[in-house]
Amino acid sequence: MFKQKTTEEIKASARKRVTGSSGAFYNNPQVRSIVYQILLVAGLLYFFGTIIGNTLGNMEAIGIKTGFDFLSAAAGYDVLMSLISFEATDTYGRIFVVGLLNTILVSIIGIVFATILGFVFGVAQFSQNWLIRKVAVVYVEIFRNIPLLLQVFFWYFAVLASLPGARQSLSLGEAFFLNVRGLYMPRFIGEELAWLFHTSIALAIAGIIFLRRWAKKRQELTGDQFPVLYTSLGLLLGLPLLVLILTGFPFQIEYPALKGFNYFGGISVIPELMALALALSVYTGAFIAEAVRAGIQSIPNGQTEAARSIGLRENKIMSLIIVPQAMRVIVPLLNSEYQSLVKNSTLAAAIGYPDLFNVFVGTALNQTGQAIETIFMTIVVYFVINMIISFLMNRFNNAVALVSR
């Protein structure tokens, strides 16, 4: 039988041949590697042992009880904004959920707008129009190089704080109101037949997916193109509209109304959320624009020239030839930008948006003194969120990756 030798074994046998002996045992790489690892394990055990011993001793001295019992204790303070019902008598466990939902909310808003801004300005850097190119470069170079914290403060203290008061609100069609206290939007409250409307939207989306597959197959078979974009738009708008007319508009609209010193009713967005979401989108958008630029630049010029030579129009070249290839470079970069956006959303603590970090590591830690537990739980949450993002982006990456035949 022939056994594959490892590099170490080959080296060892070579050494034996040259020196005539296998040398002292402490020169044997395998022995050394085991000794090093044992030393490392011992060092780590000693290090963590000391830390844990010290911590337990210190906590006992201050009189803090370790453990997660505090989660079921009543919090006794209110939070500024909550997606689920919350009262001051609720527990720390519920505060954790409130904070988690707020973090997820601001992250999703940030990711959506950052992606839009990033792709618009990234592609704009390759525009034929000199002015557009320069505007895109200025946007990227300014917002990438200013610390995020300053941008959060800028939106919060300089822009949103200088909006007019409630009585002089900026309004759009008497439905949307923007003032120093936040953004107010109308809310739709579904009546009995509202489910028909929701179903019609789902049907329209399913129809579009089906239509795209069918059109692609038809194009591959016959070469004929089908106007997918316009039919999809028609389907997406037309079908729900038809349902709305047939069912006689099964919604009540609740408009925000000025009562006393502020608007009530409808959906309200607090300025803290607006400032944080704006800063995160604009900052991360600049980085995504750079990623998009790098992706597009990585495509050889020959691709553009080949596309021109077969007679594609400029916008088709971008959307059919360049961007799909550039996605291979862009997606891994997007993955890390999204993850850093989620991590950066902890800056909510600076302006008081009640995200997980602020309500839990900020307030709950102060009130209970459970430093280890609160920080541990928060860190685990950010790890899990980032792992989910990484998982989804890797799936997406596999979809856009080069298929080698």
Binding site: L44, N129, N145, P147, A158, T346, I375
Partner: protein
């Protein structure tokens, strides 16, 4: 026979050269392009003159107090009056030369690592860089040098941002190098410890690391030990940075061709000789742009220190804004100033990174 008289070349058509052609190609190449150009141009014409007027033409430049700001424009007097605070924090005025000395040392070491004679450049500059944070610490604190002691609560302003960022990345350098080596090691336990360390410090929000430094770290030390808050945050920043830099180095290690490792083995170099003499110089060369990018990130992140109450420049600005002698609402001037300082430093570094990249790019001259 007459000499042949060539007809002088006709000038190129107006449409293809000069400003007119440039505008046709770059601004008005098609109808939608022209519309966009006109829209952006009108927008710029609308907003730029008022900004220039506010910031420069009708701004207040001279004076020492709030009442000197009499004109409509920006009140730069505010920045002027607080400039010492913004740059040096509450550091005692008669000791400020020490901060300046530290910054000069930083600049000297930086120049030395490019300009020293080649024979001693590598060794001398590595030693100088590694010693710098500790010398800087000793100068700023003053205890070891017999100077008056300045407690760390008084350190602040933009110089603190610079010091924290530089001191952390320098100390993180050797550690991150070890972590990167550990991650590539054949020894399973060393590899997994390195992976866990690196992924932990990269995966955690930096703000929660700062909270760990300020709230959790004191619990880890034996009872009675009292480590200064700034030192604790420094430790945390070093760990944070070494996690990020380890990944930068890992990329660098992967970029060095396997033949280099094999060649070093074949001439009989030991492991450390191979790594330090053959591999590391090439790794540093390929990872230089990423090292600078990581430093820019760290530098921007030093503003987060405000959240745990360390008086770096943004915190100083907020103190200045709430000062009772300056209640005229100078938030815009203050933020613009700090914006500009950070922007200029970070943009400068990214330009520098591009130049270094070109200079180090010895095999591909383009």
């Amino acid at each position: 026979m007459d000499n042949y008289q060539p007809i002088p070349a006709r000038p190129a058509p107006v449409k293809t050269v000069g400003a007119v052609a440039w505008m046709r190609n770059n601004l008005f190449s098609s109808i939608p392009n022209s519309i966009v150009t006109i829209l952006i141009a009108t927008f710029l014409v609308q907003i730029i003159p008022p900004i220039v007027d506010w910031a420069i033409l009708s701004a207040n430049w001279t004076g020492t107090k709030e009442a000197d700001c009499t004109r409509d424009g920006a009140c730069w007097v505010f920045i002027n009056a607080w400039s010492q605070q913004f740059f040096y924090g509450s550091y005692p005025t008669e000791e400020i030369w020490r901060i300046n000395l530290m910054l000069v040392l930083l600049a000297l070491v930086m120049i030395a690592s490019f300009k020293l004679p080649k024979a001693i450049r590598m060794k001398a500059s590595i030693i100088a860089w590694l010693a710098l944070p500790f010398i800087g610490m000793a100068i700023l604190d003053g205890r070891l040098l017999g100077l008056p002691v300045v407690s760390t609560d008084l350190w602040g302003g933009f110089s603190l941002n610079v010091f924290m960022a530089a001191a952390s990345i320098i100390v993180a350098f050797p550690f991150s190098f070890l972590w990167a080596l550990g991650r590539r090691s054949d020894m399973p336990f060393i590899r997994s410890v390195s992976v866990i360390f690196i992924e932990f410090f990269r995966g955690v929000p930096v703000l929660s690391l700062f909270f760990m430094g300020s709230v959790m770290l004191p619990l880890f030390f034996a009872e009675g030990t009292n480590v200064d808050k700034l030192i604790r945050v420094w430790l945390v920043l070093i760990f944070f940075m070494s996690g990020y830099m380890a990944e930068v180095f890992r990329g660098g290690f992967q970029a060095v061709p396997a033949g280099q490792y094999e060649a070093a083995d074949s001439i009989g170099l030991s492991y450390w000789q191979k790594i330090l003499l053959i591999i590391l110089p090439q790794v540093i060369k390929v990872s230089m742009p990423n090292i600078l990018a990581t430093f820019v990130m760290l530098f921007k992140n030093t503003t987060f220190l405000l959240i745990i109450g360390i008086p770096e420049v943004v915190q100083t600005l907020q103190t200045a804004l709430s000062n009772s002698y300056w209640l005229g609402g100078h938030a815009v001037e203050g933020y613009l100033f700090v914006f500009f300082v950070f922007w200029a430093s970070c943009f400068g570094m990214s330009v520098m990174s591009r130049r270094i990249e070109r200079k180090l790019n010895t095999d591909k001259r383009d």
